[in-house]
């Protein structure tokens, strides 16, 4: 059973979103996703300044087993990416909701948050 924090929102493609009330959001991949992928060995993150539409592939997480796209869960501009992952991609495994975050976005339309999955809906999907 994977961990699904109750204060986050999720996307079907296994990203999590932490909305920071100032119009920015932090994004990562769920515990379920990291467990499925296994040991991370390489993370390719979007450059700050890049803009993405909701659903665009914008990052890649690679485990020993497979490479997997990460999709922008919301439309907006990347304002920061987690440079610690360059040398320590395993943080995505060990702390997917903390030090293993991927990037932060300035949201173009915070109303899009309403279209994301709440923890229980995501739990149904991920564990179902």
């Amino acid at each position: 059973m994977s961990e699904i924090p109750s204060d986050l929102l999720y996307r079907e493609s296994h990203e999590w979103v932490r909305y920071d009330d100032d119009g920015t959001a932090t994004i990562g991949i769920s515990d379920h996703a990291q467990a499925q992928l296994g040991d991370m060995v390489f993370v390719e993150l979007p450059e700050p300044g890049m803009s993405y539409e909701q659903g665009d592939a914008c990052a890649v997480v690679e485990s020993v087993k497979a490479a997997s796209d990460v999709y922008a869960p919301l439309t907006g501009e990347v304002i920061e990416s987690n440079s610690a992952l360059e040398d320590s991609p395993e943080l995505v495994n060990t702390d997917p909701y903390g030090d293993g975050w991927l990037f932060r976005m300035q949201l173009a339309d915070p109303a899009q948050l309403e279209g994301l999955l709440d923890p229980s809906s995501y739990a149904d999907q991920a564990e179902g």
Partner: protein
């Protein structure tokens, strides 16, 4: 999906199970990188009960295998000795790769791939028709690979006394029989260790004793990165029926010095006479990223393709096998998700006995 006799033991050990060649097998029990290091530095065990054990018995067993296999069973003179070989079709394409053990003049044992079981055994039986031999598959056997620098010592601490006595002085790439155990000093990791065949009903007990001796369970994930580092081909990825061993890095397993007529030899001779077009090489990625199978490779001599690729936990770099034009050397680029990444062409293996092989890391710097 078929389950091995160790299925419950895998679940009890927290395995993540996957489908592989018709079997349900563990991919890992947690971190596959930890499992990889466990085998490189200590001892790990793999359930390889999906592998197919086939006995060839009869007065013409050696003559049959001499015709069937690209490597020469004449090299097997002392009982227990093992030989790695490809089994070719008439075009020289690889039907399967296998290990054959010489146990007695009228008994050779082969271990063939699970993925090719039906095709391989059908081919065997078809070719066997002309010979006075019997081909028997041993579905009832389980197989455990115990691998790593401490593997043999830890195995000795839990195997029956008689088996340990039989193993005294066993050479690399040899096997002994002891009661209903068949123990070979072989493996697929580049480390020392044993592959132990036993009746399925005994597998759980041995597994439990090995666990108690500190041998950790390892899954298919670690098995793949270990064999890749060790420069060992995977059937269906690095070679198949469409390519010959000569272009699969396996020329060393083809015995053509005398005039032995094995299946596929005329095709190999034609290929040699016409000049080989391709070879299988190792790649070491210079920068960050991960290599995967089926990525395009550009060399000075032309284009090629990766056949296996992953991240090497020992080298902390991405490595791959690639089939490239024979003239390719030194540097190349690999297309990884639209980008051309720089890599060096090297001669496998990448890792032996826990350490990077000479020239592998230097080549990437």
């Amino acid at each position: 999906m078929r389950q091995t006799p160790l299925h419950d033991a895998h679940l009890a050990a927290g395995a993540r199970m996957v489908d592989f060649a018709g079997w349900t097998l563990p991919i890992n029990y947690g971190s596959q990188i930890d499992e990889h290091h466990q085998v490189r530095t200590d001892a790990g065990m793999f359930d390889v009960s999906h592998m197919t054990v086939v006995d060839v018995r009869g007065p013409q067993a050696r003559a049959f295998l001499s015709r069937l296999l690209a490597n020469d069973v004449a090299r097997l003179q002392s009982p227990g000795k093992a030989l790695y070989s490809c089994m070719l079709n008439e075009n020289g394409g690889v039907i399967d790769d296998l290990i054959v053990y010489f146990m007695a003049e009228d008994w050779f044992r082969m271990v063939v791939n699970a993925a090719t079981r039906d095709k391989g055994v059908a081919w065997l039986e078809h070719q066997a028709a002309e010979f006075r031999i019997a081909v028997t598959e041993h579905y009832e056997l389980a197989m455990l690979a115990v691998q790593g620098p401490e593997a043999r010592e830890k195995a000795h601490s839990v195997l029956p006394e008689e088996a340990v006595a039989a193993l005294d002085g066993i050479k690399l790439f040899s096997a002994v029989e002891s009661n209903d155990l068949f123990i070979a000093r072989t493996g697929y990791t580049g480390e020392d260790g044993y592959e132990i065949m036993m009746p399925g009903a005994e597998a759980q007990a041995l597994w439990g004793r090995l666990l108690g001796a500190g041998v950790k369970p390892c899954g298919l994930g670690a098995r793949d990165t270990l064999r890749l580092e060790a420069g060992m081909n995977l059937y269906g990825q690095d070679m198949d029926e469409e390519v010959t061993p000569l272009e699969s890095g396996l020329a060393w397993t083809v015995a053509m010095k005398d005039d032995r007529e094995f299946i596929g030899r005329p095709a190999l001779e034609r290929q040699r006479a016409a000049g080989l077009q391709n070879k299988l090489v190792g790649l070491v990625l210079e920068g960050r990223g991960v290599l995967r199978p089926h990525q395009s490779v550009i060399t000075h001599a032309g284009a090629g393709m990766t056949t296996s690729g992953s991240f090497s936990p020992t080298l902390q770099r991405a490595i791959a096998f690639a089939r490239v034009p024979v003239g390719a050397a030194d540097r190349c680029t690999v297309e990884v998700r639209g980008k051309e990444l720089a890599a060096r062409i090297v001669k496998p293996p990448f890792v032996r006995n826990g350490k990077a092989c000479e020239g592998i890391l230097q080549a990437a710097e």
